[in-house]
Amino acid sequence: MARKLTYIFFISIGVSILVGLFIPHEHVHFWWEKIPAFDAIFGFLGCIVIVLGAKALGHHGIQKDEDYYD
C-alpha cells in the first residue's frame, strides 16, 4: 500500500512536470516564468528554505522551554 502510494506520488510529479513543459504560457510577467518547471523547483527549494531557515532561527533564540513565561 505504502509502496503503491509512493509510486503514484512520483508518477504524478513526473506527469505534472511533463505537462508543464508543453503548455504555452499565456501572460509572462517575470523572467523566471520561462524557466522550465520553475514551480516545481521553487516548491522544492522553497520548502527546504522554510524548514531549515525557521529551524535555525528557532534553535538560535526563538525557542524556549515551555515554562519560560511562568
Binding site: C47, V51, G58
Partner: protein, 618 residues
Amino acid sequence: MIDIAPPAFIFILGAILLPLLRERRLRQVFQLLIPLIAFIDLLYMPKGTYWVYNFLGYDLILGRVDKLSMCFGYVFVIVAFVGMVYALHVREVGQHTAAFLYIGSALGVTFAGDIFTLYVFWEIMAVSSVFLIWYQRDKAALDAGFRYIMVHIFGGCALLAGIIIHVSNTGSTNFGFIEYGGLASQLILLGFIINAAVPPFHAWLSDAYPEATVTGSVFLTAFTTKSAVYVLLRTFPGVEILVWLGAIMAVYGVAYAVLENDIRRLLAYHIISQVGYMVAGVGLGTEMSMNGSTAHAFCHILYKALLFMGAGAVIYVTGRRKLTDLQGRNLYKKMPITLSLYMIGGFSISAVPLFNGFISKTMVIAASAELERPVIYLLLHLASIGTFLHTGLKLPYGIWFGRVPEGEKVEEEEIEAKEPPLNMLIAMGMASFLCILTGVYPEILYNLLPYPVHFHPYTLNHVVGMTQLLLLTGAAFWLYIDKLGGEPKISVDTDWFYRKPGVLLLWFVSNPMQDLRLRLQSFFTRMVTNVASLSKNPILLPEITVRYFHLKIMNRLYQASGTYKDKADELKGLESRIAAAKEMRYDENVYRRPIGLGVLIAIIFLLVYGLIYFIRLR
C-alpha cells in the same frame, strides 16, 4: 423593503433573549434560528443606505449595504450558523451569549456607514470575544485573555484618537476612503492593523486563540481579523505599506508555524499568514487584488473554521493539544471521519485545485504579477508552500499518524479516542461542503465580489503550476519528515515585549509606586485631619497659633538654657492648654460678636479676593 432590523441587532437581541430560555432543547433551536433569520434578513436587504439615526448632530448609519459589505455579511452569517451547530452540545449559556454578541458586533462593523457606529461595534467585538477565551476557565486562558483584551483596548484607543482627529480635521464622519498621510489616518490604520494581526502587533492572536474554548475558537478565527480586512478594504486601498506588511506577514506566520508544537497555535499562525494575502491585496489596490482579498477572506473564514473544528475535535476527545502528545498514537484508526473532513480544510487552505483556497489565493498572487511586483509575488508564493507544508502535511501527519522520534518511549496505554459528537461532525461536514462547492463553482463567490471579475482560476497554467508547487513541497516534506515532528518548546514572539518587561513594570508599580502612593495618602490624610480639627472652632485659630508658637519658643529656650527638666511641668501645662483649646467647640453664646461667623468669613474672603483683584489690576 426594510423589513426586519439590522442583522447586528438580530444577533444582539438573540444574545439578550438566549439566557431567558430555560429549556435546553428550546435553546438549541433558538441558537440555530437566529443565524437563519439573519440570513433571510440579508437576502431581503436592498442595496443602499438606511437605518440612519441622528445623534448629537451626527448621522449614525447602521445600514450601508453594497456588494462589499454584503459579501462579508453573508460569510459572517454562514460561519455563525456552522459554528453554532458545532457548539450545540455546550451547556454553558454564557458562551453562546458571548458568541452572539461577538457575531452581532462584527456584523455591525460590516454594515456601519459612519465611523462612530464602526467604533462602538468595534469595541463590543473586543469585549464580547474575550469571554470565549475566559470560558476555558484555566489560568493560561485567563492570562491570555487579559493580554488579548489589553492589546485590543490599546488598538481601540488608537482608533478612537484617530477618529477624533479625523472628524475634527475634516468634519466628516463618513466611513469610507481615507487619504493615507498625517496623524489621524496613521492612528486609524494602527487600530485596524492591530485587529488584522499585522506584525509586530500580531502576537495577541497566536497567544490567545489556542487558549480559547474548543467551540469558541471557531468563532474567534472568523470575525476579528476578517472584519479588520473589511475596514482596510473600505478605508485604505492602495496604501503601499500594506503591500509589504502583508507579504512579510504571510511568510512570518509560516515560519513560526514550523516551530509550533501546540496544534491550534500552529493553525493560529496560519491565520496570520493567510490574512497577509488579504492585507497585501488591499495594499495593491487594483480591482483584481481587492476582489482577491474579499474572496480570500470569504474562503478563509470557511476553511479556517473547518481546520479549527477538526483540531478542536481532537482536543475535545483526547484532551491533548500538543503534537508531542499526539504523534505516533495512530489516531487515524479511531477518528477517520474527522481526519477526512480536516483534510478538506487542509487542501483548501493549501490552494489545491478544486478546493476554495485555489480560486481566491491565486487571484491575489495574479494581481501582484499583473502589477509586476516580483518580490511580493515570490513572498506570497513562498508562503503558499509553507501553508501546504504545515496545514496540509505536517499537522495531519503529526496528529493522526506520526512517528515517535527515536529514543523516546511511548506510554503504554492507548489514548481513549473516538469520533466527536454528531453535531461537531455535521458542522465540519457543512463547512467542507461549502469549501468544495465554492472551489468547484467559483462563480457563486465571484458574483458576490465588489468588482466585476475577469479572472479565470482554472487555466492549465494555474492548475499545473500549483500542482507542481504542491507536489514538490510534498517531496521536500518527505525528506525532512523526521525533522518536522513537534518539539516540546514554545516560541518567543513579539508578546515577549509585554510579557517579560511587563513583569518588571508590575514590580515597579507594586513596590516603589505603591510606596509613593501610601506616603502621599497618609500625608494628605494628616492634613485633612488637622484642618478638620481646626475647623471645629475657627475663631480660636489665632489663639491656638499663638500658643503653639509660644510653646515651641519656650521649648527651645529651655533646651538652650539647660533648664528643660525643671520646667517640664510648665511645658506640659502649655501643651494641655493647646489641647483644651483644640477640643473647644464653637459656641455662639461664648463668642458673641457684632456679626455672625459666616458673615465674617464671607467678608474675609471678599477682602482677600478684592486685594488680589486690585493687585492684578495694577
